[in-house]
């Protein structure tokens, strides 16, 4: 029994699959907690299904009928008598309704409350909350604009260069950058026309365009006793089409002074919403060291191992302890960033064919090992990767005393990693690691489109 008078969970249901499910089951095994895996018909032979103490099939391969089906997962939880659910990432992890249902059924959801998930999931509300808490946000129009005149007025207030964005836009459609007043009209017209043609909507937003930004995110932990700490940052600037590809901690662009300032802001943001459990606050960092709030992720992140490596804190175990009502195991001053860690995401996809997912059977697998090398994966020899889910199959994480050593270690480890039978982005990662600008740390969110567009 802990100080709050609550017992640690006896049995946790892991409402996820793949490497994150395995990662959570491992944490539970280390903590002496029983685990229940849920699996779809396509995942009968998945590692998480076999590693968990108990497993229950929750439906057909399609995620909408299995890993996304709240009723089935809750029924499984009741049947298997689990007292908490860990949602992992993706699937139901940021579904406020699911968190609410867990609460109503007396099952502990390992994550923040439904109310916070809902609040942070709504972009405009999250932005408003952050502004109220004094967290800097990207300057932009508070209200939608419809005409060139309104747009130009807002653009002048915000300051050039500006991003003109269609409310319904996506994938670059209905989006234009305007450098100055002169080219504003034509860009606004083009963006709006695209939006009208593509989405039948003329609602536009104007915001400051941040040139060559870095994606910097801060990991925070908050317990229900009001303690909030940050665990430093992760630099996730290496992205392909807004999908993170490679992450590192700490960021080369961040001085300890800036880290303290950003970390303090992140903690303030978390306190402002009354946050509980692990969360991530994403910022854009511009070339002159200004940072702006983008969004808050109310779940564990794919790239959490790099933070674990440099802080020596097990984030999943912390999540479980927090959910059970315990206090944080660390105080801010006890958190030290030691060395440098890098994570490469290995996906079963074909870089030759525009990174199309490439499921299939793994015929040969060799994993690198040794000091400072961690592999988080759910694949094994002769494992058949189902076509129904995300293509990420493995995370390779290295940790060494500084960035150069970490890069060298990653280069060696990538060279040792062998996955046969399916196409992967392994060579693509190898190219990134060997890129001189990457080695020099000269990166921003356009890195991949700059070097790797064919």
């Amino acid at each position: 029994m802990n100080e709050a008078g609550e017992d640690m969970f006896q049995k946790i249901l892991v409402a996820n699959r793949g490497e994150i499910a395995v990662r959570i089951i491992r944490a539970c095994r280390e903590m002496g907690i029983k685990t229940v895996a849920v699996y779809s018909e396509a995942d009968k032979e998945a590692l998480h299904t076999m590693l968990a103490d108990e497993a229950i099939c929750i439906g057909p391969a399609a995620s909408s009928e299995s890993y996304l089906d709240m009723e089935r997962i809750l029924s499984a939880c009741v049947t298997m008598k689990a007292d908490a659910i860990h949602p992992g990432f993706g699937f139901l992890s940021e579904n406020a309704r699911f968190a609410e249902l867990c609460e109503k059924c007396g099952i502990r959801f390992i994550g923040p409350s439904a109310e916070i998930i809902h609040k942070m999931g709504n972009k405009s509300e999250a932005r408003k909350t952050m502004m109220e808490a004094g967290v800097p946000v990207i300057p932009g129009s508070k209200n939608p604009v419809f005409t060139i005149e309104e747009g130009l007025k807002t653009a002048k207030e915000v300051g050039f260069p500006v991003m003109i964005k269609a409310s319904s836009g996506g994938g670059g459609k209905g989006m234009r950058i305007s450098e100055s007043e002169e080219d504003f009209e034509i860009n606004f017209q083009n963006a709006q026309m695209e939006s009208i043609k593509g989405f039948s909507d003329n609602t536009m937003y104007i915001e400051r365009f941040i040139e060559r930004p870095r994606h910097i995110e801060f990991q925070i932990l908050a317990d229900r006793h009001g303690n909030v700490v940050h665990l430093g940052e992760r630099d996730c600037s290496i992205q392909r089409r807004h999908q993170k590809v490679l992450e590192e901690a700490p960021s080369i662009a961040i001085s300890s002074e800036l880290r303290a300032r950003m970390g303090e802001t992140a903690v303030r943001a978390a306190k402002a919403v009354g946050y509980e459990n692990a969360g991530t606050i994403e910022f854009l960092l511009d070339q002159s060291g200004n940072f702006y709030f983008m969004e808050m992720n109310t779940r564990i992140q794919v790239e959490h191992p790099v933070t674990e490596a440099v802080t020596d804190i097990d984030l999943i175990k912390e999540q479980i302890r927090i959910a059970a009502g315990e206090e944080l195991s660390v105080k801010q001053e006890e958190i030290n960033i030691v060395g440098h860690a890098i994570e490469c995401r290995i996906n079963a996809e074909d870089p030759e064919k525009n990174f199309r997912p490439c499921p299939g059977t793994i015929t040969e697998l060799h994993l690198p090992g040794g000091r400072g090398i961690r592999v988080d994966t759910a694949v094994y020899n002769n494992y058949r990767i189902p076509a129904n889910y995300d293509s990420m199959i493995l995370k390779l994480i290295v940790h060494d005393k500084d960035r150069a050593s970490a890069i060298a270690k990653m280069r060696s480890a990538l060279g040792e990693l062998v996955i046969e039978g399916v196409k992967t982005n392994l060579d693509f990662q190898y190219e990134i690691i060997n890129n001189p600008d990457f080695e020099a740390g000269d990166i921003d969110t356009d890195f991949i489109s700059k070097y790797f567009t064919k």
Partner: protein, 568 residues
């Protein structure tokens, strides 16, 4: 493979297992897809299953909340004494039980309401109350509400849902059908609107009385609507009924419903209908609009008045081009708030005719167009713009509706001709066209017909007995296709080009003959890109038409139309 190979790690002995207590009222089962659904999700989703999209029946007050402006509902006749004309044993007890269960006095709630700011009289049936069958009290409440609406000059909206007549009240129940229908007839003759909304299920005596008498009949998707119930029919004829029989969609296809409206859009559509039946709103000659036209033509520079002398055959080909502007393009560009209404109320909804109500610069109008379709699939659905008798009957129904509510009528003509086929003859193609000529000649509202593409013979004329007939510059209007003309006269359809020359079918030639009154210039090529410019010009001309015809009295309008055709 790795199954049962991993060692267990837990050491604790399970002394206490968490026992979950799931509250009983969190979920329900969808009666359509059978899946468990979270009750709050259903409520937030307008009582529609979030998983399969199936509609749940809803209570009268919930329905009122969904469509009425907040706190605007004022209930009428909430206290009615139990009526038991046959002294039917056990009936009163049954009523009392239903009252207790539903908190309702009877199976319908009536009253005055505001929807989108527009006042109306609303009646909503509630299926929880003895399947909302119609006995004396239901009939009485409807009749009183309609009578009061007629007196106060308010539109009536009735949400129907019923198993039919109330058996326990015998013949008195049957009489309610006549009583409610008679009240609605008076309401109609007073020029007042009645919108009927059919919800699941609408059957028996309710279908055969007030529910089917709407000036406008809407229905919810998938609702069961019919006179005899499907089980009764199956037992009687000894056959299995086809899938989708007697659904709202089935009735739409067969011409008995104007429009299927999703629950979440019901308020919007009703508001729009009420708005368009609330008289002219903001009619004013829009000076800004004409300025815009000038600037557009300036923009185009000198290209405008280039030599346009071309052969009649060129016009024939231009009028038939696949990317030529269709009635639906003009409707979208010329009017606001267009609501399409379907069906002829006899047999079918004809895809070749699009019709409905809309507003032109704040003036409610009825607009009816012949539509050829843009893609192959669409072409087939629209029968290449060749209307069937059902299409002409739909057009006439909408024109009669326009007359009842004193709305001008705009017809857009674009057809190779009336459909030539077995079904068309079976259902009386000739009669349908003749009937339109006959009825249109005496409609008491102004009619404007515009030939926008092909004006193919009688098929076109059936929508062109108008006060003014206009043609787009490159449209044609003819007794027969030039190909047909050539093959009849010269036994050679290849001589169509020559035929076109002698037939006098172009806009300018027909203007000279006095068959049409006005030629509307086209930008070239006349397609979607030039649509804004073309319609700006058309809008100006139409504004003039409305100014000419607005305040003329009915007799004058009818006589003018008579004389217009008398002269030929």
């Amino acid at each position: 493979m790795l199954k049962n190979m991993f060692k267990k790690t837990y050491t604790k002995i399970d002394t206490k297992y968490h026992t979950n207590t799931i509250p009983a009222d969190l979920w329900r089962k969808c009666n359509k897809c059978g899946k468990p659904i979270y009750i709050e999700d259903v409520y937030e989703n307008h009582n529609i299953c979030p998983k399969c999209g199936g509609y749940f029946r809803i209570s009268a007050y919930r329905r009122i909340n969904m469509i009425a402006d907040a706190d605007s509902f004022e209930e009428w006749d909430c206290e009615m004494e139990i009526s038991n004309p046959l002294q039917f044993p056990g009936y009163e007890k049954k009523i009392l039980a239903a009252r207790e269960k539903t908190n309702l006095n009877e199976a319908i709630v009536t009253g005055r309401v505001q929807i989108g700011g527009y006042p109306a009289v609303l009646g909503v049936c509630d299926a929880r109350f003895l399947m909302s069958s119609m006995g004396h009290n239901v009939g009485e409440k409807i009749t009183r509400a309609v009578e009061r609406a007629t007196k106060e000059k308010l539109p009536v909206i009735l949400f129907a849902c019923s198993g039919g007549a109330r058996m326990q009240e015998g013949m008195i129940s049957l009489m309610q059908m006549a009583k409610t229908s008679a009240a609605l007839k008076r309401h109609h003759e007073a020029g007042q609107l009645f919108v009927s909304v059919l919800t699941d299920p609408t059957t028996g005596g309710v279908t055969a009385s007030f529910a089917m008498l709407g000036d406008i009949i809407l229905a919810e998707p998938g609702a069961l609507i019919g006179f005899a119930g499907p089980r009764v029919i199956e037992q009687t004829i000894g056959q299995k009924l086809p899938e989708g029989f007697q659904t709202a969609e089935f009735l739409l296809e067969h011409g008995f419903i104007d429009k299927i409206v999703k629950r979440e859009e019901m308020k919007k559509i009703l508001t729009n209908i009420l708005k368009l039946h609330n008289g002219r709103t903001e009619y004013a000659y829009d000076a800004k609009c004409s300025q815009r036209v000038t600037s557009v033509s300036q923009l185009k520079g000198t290209r405008q008045m280039k030599a346009r002398i071309r052969s009649a055959w060129d016009s024939v080909q231009l009028s038939r081009k696949t990317d030529r502007l269709a009635a639906s393009d003009y409707i979208g560009a010329l009017f606001d708030d267009f609501i399409e209404f379907h069906g002829d109320r006899y047999f079918k909804d004809d895809g070749a005719i699009i019709g409905g109500i809309a507003s032109f610069r704040g003036i409610p109008v009825t607009v009816i167009g012949q539509e050829k379709g843009k893609t192959t699939k669409d072409n087939i659905f629209r029968n290449f713009g060749m209307p069937s008798p059902d299409g002409y009957r739909k057009a006439l129904r909408l024109m009669k509706q326009a007359e009842a509510f004193n709305r001008p009528i705009i017809c857009l003509i674009d057809t190779p001709g009336a459909f030539c086929g077995i079904e068309a003859e079976e259902r009386g193609q000739g009669e349908a066209i003749a009937r339109n000529l006959f009825e249109m000649s005496s409609l008491k509202v102004p009619i404007l017909s515009i030939v926008i593409g092909e004006g193919g013979s009688g098929g076109a004329l059936a929508m062109a007995v108008a006060n003014e007939v206009w043609m787009m510059e490159n449209a044609i209007y003819s007794i027969l296709s030039p190909e047909g003309f050539a093959s009849i006269l010269w036994k050679d359809s290849k001589k169509a080009g020559e035929a076109a020359k002698v037939m006098k079918i172009t806009a300018s030639e027909l203007k000279e003959l006095g068959v049409i009154d006005r030629v509307i210039p086209e930008e070239e090529p006349a397609n979607r890109d030039t649509l804004p410019m073309i319609t700006e010009k058309l809008k100006q001309s139409m504004t003039e038409f409305f100014e000419t015809w607005f305040d003329r009295d009915a007799e004058d309008i009818v006589n003018n139309r008579y004389d217009r055709f008398r002269k030929f």
